[in-house]
C-alpha cells in the first residue's frame, strides 16, 4: 500500500480569528461559507445508517450502497401521483449542468452545484442554512464544470473541487475544516465525482481520460483529510495486468498516461466488505496507440476498502477505442441463474450492452450474459463463456483514418444512473439509440499527455455526431427484467437525447427527466405509461431522489441544463430537418421539491 505525503491545509479556527482581526482581505478568503442559520440537532451519519439506508433519508448518491436508485416510500403511488405538485423551489444561482442528487439526512438537504457550491437547506421548507462556495483557482479550466454531489459522514459534508481537492465541511455550519489535494487539475485531473464514504474513509477519483491522465481512486481519512491509500486503475511495472500494456509502437510507455479515470462514485457490499468501482476510457481514444487489452480500462473492479487492493475485475471490452468508458459501478443485485438465485452485478454499459455478472464474497467477478440494448455496430458477438467481444474492425477507430461507429462516444447510456426495483426485479435504463459518430484518428505529438491539453487522439472539428435514421428518435427509457433477462417495456422520447438518471419507488412509479422538453415524468413501473409530468425551468440531468419529513414523502430533483447533454442536444438539433427537435433549452439551476397536495 502506498501512502504519499499529499499536502493538506488544516484551518485552525483560533488562528483565523486572530488573522481576521489583522486584515480584512483575509476574512474574504477564509469566508467561503455564508451561514444563515446553524443546523441544530444534526444527526451524525454512521456506517450503520449508510448500510441500512432508511428510506426517510437519501444518504448516498444512489440511495444505497448497492446503487439501486430505489425508494421504499410509497405514499406517492400510481393512484395519486396526478396530485403531485411543487411545494418549494430554490434557485442555486449557478448556471450550467447540475448533476448532483440532493442528499437528505434527517430533514436536512445538501445540494452541490457546478463550480462546487454546496447548499444546505431545510428539506421540508427550502429555507437555507448555509452556502459554501469553493475557492477554485481563477484560471481553472475543466471540460466538465459540474459536481455529482457530496458525501456525508458523521457530522461532516465532503465535496470534491474541480481543482482536484477533497474538502471536509462542518455539516452544521458549512465551514471548511480540512482539505486534501487529490488530483492536479492543471494536468487535467479535475474532479466531478461525488465522494463515497466507507468506514471512516472518503473515496474519490479524478477525471482526465481526455487529457492523458492515469486514472486512480484515492481514499482520504474522514477526520484528518490525510491520504489513506491511492490505487491506480492502470497497473504499473511488476503488477498483475501491466502485461496488457504492450511495449510496442510509438508509445511503449502508454500505460503512464493511459486513462482509465474512476470519475463516478462506486458501490459497496458491506457484508463481504468489497468495493465495486467503474473504470473509464483509454487515453488517447485510439486503441492502436496503446496496444494490448489495457487493463483495467473499460472495466468494473472490486477493491478492498481498507487498503485499495484490487481483488477482482471484469473488462467489458478490450483495448477501448470508442471512449466507451465503464465509469458507472455495476449495481449489486441478486438474480436468477439456472433456476438458482445468485449474488450478481448488473450494468447497462456505455458500449450499449447490458451485462449480468456473478460476484463472490472475495470480489471475484465472472461473466454470465451480455445483451445489446441499443445498436452497436462494432461488436460482432460476445464470447458465450467470457463475454469478450469480437470486433468488426470497420467500426474500430484507428490512427490516420476516419471511422464511424454506433453508439456514439456518449454511448448507449452515459453516466445517468439506472434504477433497480427489488420488488419487481426490473432495471430501468436511460438509453440513447440511433446516435452515431465518426472521427479522424490522429497521433498528437504537438503537446504532451497530462499537460492540461485535450489529448484524445482527435482534433475536435474532425468529430461528426449524427442521428443514424433521421426519421426516428433517440432518447429512451427501457425496463429490463433481470431474471428473465428480457426487455419488459420501452418508452420512446422522440427527438431528444435522454440524460435523465432514474428513480424507482415502492409506489410503483419510475421518475426521470433529462429530455429537451424540460419534463419531469412519472411512469407506471409495469407498463411504462406516463402517469404524470411537469415542465421544469430547465432540463434536469440530476438524479431524482425521494425522502420523508414528518411523515410526508417528497420527490426532489435539481434542474439545470449544461455540459455534454446541452452540447449533444445542440448538435443534433442543428442537423434535424423535422422541426421536432427542441434546440432552445434554457439554463439555470433550480432545486424542485414535490409532494402530494393536501
Amino acid at each position: 500500500m502506498k501512502k504519499n505525503s499529499t499536502p493538506k491545509l488544516n484551518y485552525l479556527s483560533c488562528c483565523i480569528g486572530i488573522a481576521t482581526l489583522m486584515t480584512g482581505s483575509l476574512a474574504t478568503a477564509a469566508g467561503l461559507t455564508k451561514l444563515t442559520k446553524e443546523i441544530e440537532g444534526y444527526a451524525p451519519v454512521t456506517q450503520k445508517r449508510l448500510n441500512e439506508a432508511d428510506p426517510k433519508d437519501w444518504l448516498l448518491p444512489k440511495g444505497n450502497y448497492e446503487g439501486w436508485m430505489f425508494s421504499k416510500l410509497n405514499e406517492i403511488n400510481k393512484k395519486n401521483v396526478k396530485k403531485l405538485t411543487p411545494v418549494w423551489t430554490y434557485s442555486t444561482n449557478v448556471d450550467s449542468g447540475h448533476e448532483a442528487p440532493a442528499l437528505v439526512n434527517d430533514g436536512v438537504m445538501f445540494v452541490a452545484t457546478p463550480y462546487n457550491h454546496v447548499i444546505a437547506l431545510d428539506a421540508k421548507t427550502g429555507q437555507v442554512f448555509w452556502r459554501y462556495k469553493h475557492d477554485n483557482p481563477y484560471d481553472l479550466s475543466v471540460m466538465h464544470n459540474t459536481s455529482r454531489g457530496v458525501a456525508l459522514w458523521e457530522d461532516k459534508v465532503y465535496v470534491a473541487g474541480l481543482d482536484g481537492t477533497l474538502n471536509a465541511l462542518d455539516a452544521k455550519t458549512g465551514e471548511r475544516i480540512c482539505q486534501a489535494e487529490v488530483g492536479d487539475w492543471s494536468v487535467g485531473a479535475y474532479i466531478t465525482s461525488a465522494p463515497t464514504p466507507v468506514k471512516g474513509k472518503i473515496l474519490v477519483g479524478p477525471s482526465g481520460g481526455e487529457y492523458g491522465v492515469r486514472g486512480f481512486l484515492e481514499a482520504m481519512d474522514a477526520d484528518t483529510c490525510e491520504q489513506a491509500w491511492r490505487t491506480y486503475s492502470v497497473p504499473g511495472p511488476g503488477e498483475p495486468g501491466h502485461e496488457t500494456w504492450k511495449k510496442e509502437g510509438k508509445r511503449p510507455d502508454a500505460w503512464k498516461y493511459g486513462g482509465g479515470s474512476m470519475w463516478m462514485p462506486g458501490n459497496y457490499d458491506p457484508e463481504a466488505d468489497v468495493l465495486y468501482w467503474g473504470v473509464g476510457n483509454g487515453s488517447p481514444w485510439l486503441g492502436d496507440q496503446r496496444p494490448g487489452d489495457n487493463l483495467y480500462v473499460a472495466s468494473s473492479i472490486a477493491m478492498d476498502p481498507d487498503n485499495g487492493d484490487i481483488v477482482g475485475h471484469y473488462q467489458y471490452h478490450f483495448n477501448d477505442s470508442w471512449d466507451w468508458a465503464a465509469m458507472n459501478a455495476p449495481m449489486l443485485v441478486d438474480f436468477k441463474k439456472d433456476g438458482k438465485t445468485v449474488k450478481g452485478l448488473v450494468s447497462p454499459q456505455r458500449n450499449g450492452y447490458m451485462y449480468w455478472l456473478e460476484r463472490d464474497d472475495k470480489g471475484e467477478i465472472s461473466y454470465v450474459e451480455g445483451k445489446p440494448f441499443v445498436k452497436n455496430n462494432a461488436f460482432k458477438s460476445l464470447d458465450e463463456k467470457t463475454g469478450r467481444p469480437t470486433y468488426d474492425y470497420d467500426h474500430v477507430p484507428v490512427t490516420g483514418k476516419r471511422v464511424d461507429y454506433c453508439p456514439s462516444l456518449w454511448g448507449g447510456k452515459n453516466w445517468p444512473y439506472e434504477s433497480y426495483n427489488p420488488e419487481t426485479g426490473v432495471v430501468y435504463v436511460p438509453a440513447n439509440d440511433n446516435v452515431c459518430n465518426s472521427f479522424l484518428g490522429k497521433f498528437q505529438d504537438d503537446v504532451e499527455p497530462a499537460s492540461g491539453q485535450f489529448w484524445a487522439g482527435i482534433d475536435i472539428p474532425d468529430l461528426d455526431v449524427y442521428v443514424d435514421d433521421p426519421t426516428k428518435g433517440v432518447g429512451q427509457l427501457q425496463a429490463w427484467n433481470i431474471n428473465t433477462r428480457e426487455k419488459v417495456w420501452q418508452h420512446d422520447y422522440g427527438k431528444t437525447m435522454n440524460w435523465g438518471p432514474v428513480l424507482s419507488t415502492a409506489g410503483g412509479l419510475v421518475f426521470s427527466a433529462g429530455t429537451n422538453d424540460r419534463m419531469l415524468r412519472a411512469f407506471d413501473e409495469k407498463t411504462g405509461e406516463v402517469l404524470w409530468e411537469f415542465p421544469l425551468n430547465s432540463t434536469a440531468i440530476a438524479p431524482p431522489v425521494s425522502y420523508e419529513v414528518d411523515g410526508k414523502q417528497y420527490i426532489a430533483i435539481t434542474a439545470g441544463y449544461g455540459v455534454d447533454a446541452q452540447w449533444t442536444n445542440s448538435v443534433l438539433a442543428e442537423k434535424d430537418e423535422s422541426g421536432e427537435w427542441i434546440s432552445d433549452v434554457p439554463e439555470g439551476g433550480v432545486i424542485w421539491v414535490f409532494a402530494l397536495s393536501d
Binding site: M1, K2, L9, N10, Y11, L12, C15, I16, I18, A19, M22, S25, L26, T28, A29, A30, Y115, K133, D135, N136, P137, Y138, D139, S141, V142, M143, N145, D163, E181, D184, S186, A189, R214, R230, T231, Y232, P235, G236, E239, P240, G241, Y296, G308, D309, I310, V311, G312, D446, V447, E448, A450, S451, G452, Q453, F454, D459, I460, P461, W567, V571
Partner: protein, 218 residues
C-alpha cells in the same frame, strides 16, 4: 487475487496553485490571502503573517502576462525555450500553442494558464482591418483561453479556417478579431499585438481584453 496497481510518482507538481474565488482573482492580493491561510495551517506565530504577505506581494516574472519585448516559445515541453521565428511558420498551418518568453532574463512565462497563447500565420489580405493592425506579416496571436469555460482553444477547423474549443465547441474567427462564430462563448478571444524584429516575433503590447471566463478581474 490481489493485484493492486500502485505508483509512487503521484503528480503533485502543480507549479501554480492559487486558490482564489472563482472568476474573481485579484492578482497578488489573492496570493497573499492564500499564503496567509497556509501559514495559519501550520499555526505559525502571528508575527510570521507579515513575512508571508510581503514575500508573495510581488508578482513572479513567470506569472506576469506577456510584456512588450517578450519573444515567443513553444508550450510543448520538448521545445519550450526555443524562440519561435517568422520562418518557422507556414501560412494556414494549424494554430500553435505558445508562451511568452523573456529572453533577456531567460524566463518563460509559464506560471499562469492565462499566458497560453495561440499563434498562427494567415494570408495578410484576409485579415480584417482591426486584426491586421495587431498582426505582423499576417501572424496573429490570441489568448488560448476560451471565454466560455477557460479551456485552451486548440481545435482547427481547416475548411472554414476557424478555431474550435475542444471542450464545448465554441468557434472563433482568427481573421477577424477572434470573433465568436458559434457556440456558447460570450465574447471574442483577446488578441495580442505583435511586431517583427528580424526573424523574431515580438510582443508589442497587452492583450486587448481581459483573459478568461466569468466576470472581468477588477
Amino acid at each position: 487475487m490481489s493485484n493492486r496497481a500502485s505508483d509512487k510518482t503521484a503528480p503533485k507538481d502543480k507549479g501554480f496553485s492559487c486558490q482564489c474565488q472563482e472568476a474573481s482573482y485579484k492578482g497578488p492580493e489573492d496570493n497573499f490571502r492564500r499564503d496567509m491561510l497556509k501559514y495559519m495551517t501550520l499555526a505559525i506565530p502571528v508575527a510570521n503573517l507579515a513575512l508571508a504577505g510581503s514575500a508573495s506581494a510581488a508578482e513572479k516574472p513567470e506569472r506576469l502576462p506577456p510584456q512588450p519585448g517578450d519573444r515567443l516559445t513553444y508550450f510543448s515541453k520538448k521545445k519550450r525555450g526555443q524562440i519561435i521565428k517568422v520562418s518557422d511558420l507556414n501560412e494556414l498551418d494549424k494554430q500553435q500553442l505558445i508562451l511568452p518568453f523573456d529572453t533577456q532574463n531567460e524566463i518563460v512565462r509559464d506560471g499562469s494558464r492565462y499566458n497560453q497563447i495561440l499563434l498562427q500565420k494567415l494570408p495578410e489580405g484576409d485579415l480584417s482591418e482591426k486584426t491586421k493592425a495587431l498582426s505582423a506579416n499576417g501572424i496573429v496571436a490570441y489568448s488560448a483561453i476560451c471565454t466560455h469555460a477557460g479551456c485552451p482553444v486548440t481545435g482547427w477547423v481547416s475548411d472554414d479556417e476557424h478555431y474550435m474549443c475542444p471542450c464545448h465547441q465554441s468557434v472563433f474567427n482568427p481573421k477577424d478579431s477572434g470573433v465568436v462564430m458559434s457556440g456558447p462563448a460570450p465574447r471574442n478571444l483577446p488578441a495580442l499585438p505583435l511586431a517583427i524584429d528580424g526573424d523574431e516575433i515580438v510582443v508589442a503590447g497587452s492583450f486587448n481584453s481581459w483573459i478568461g471566463f466569468g466576470k472581468p478581474r477588477r
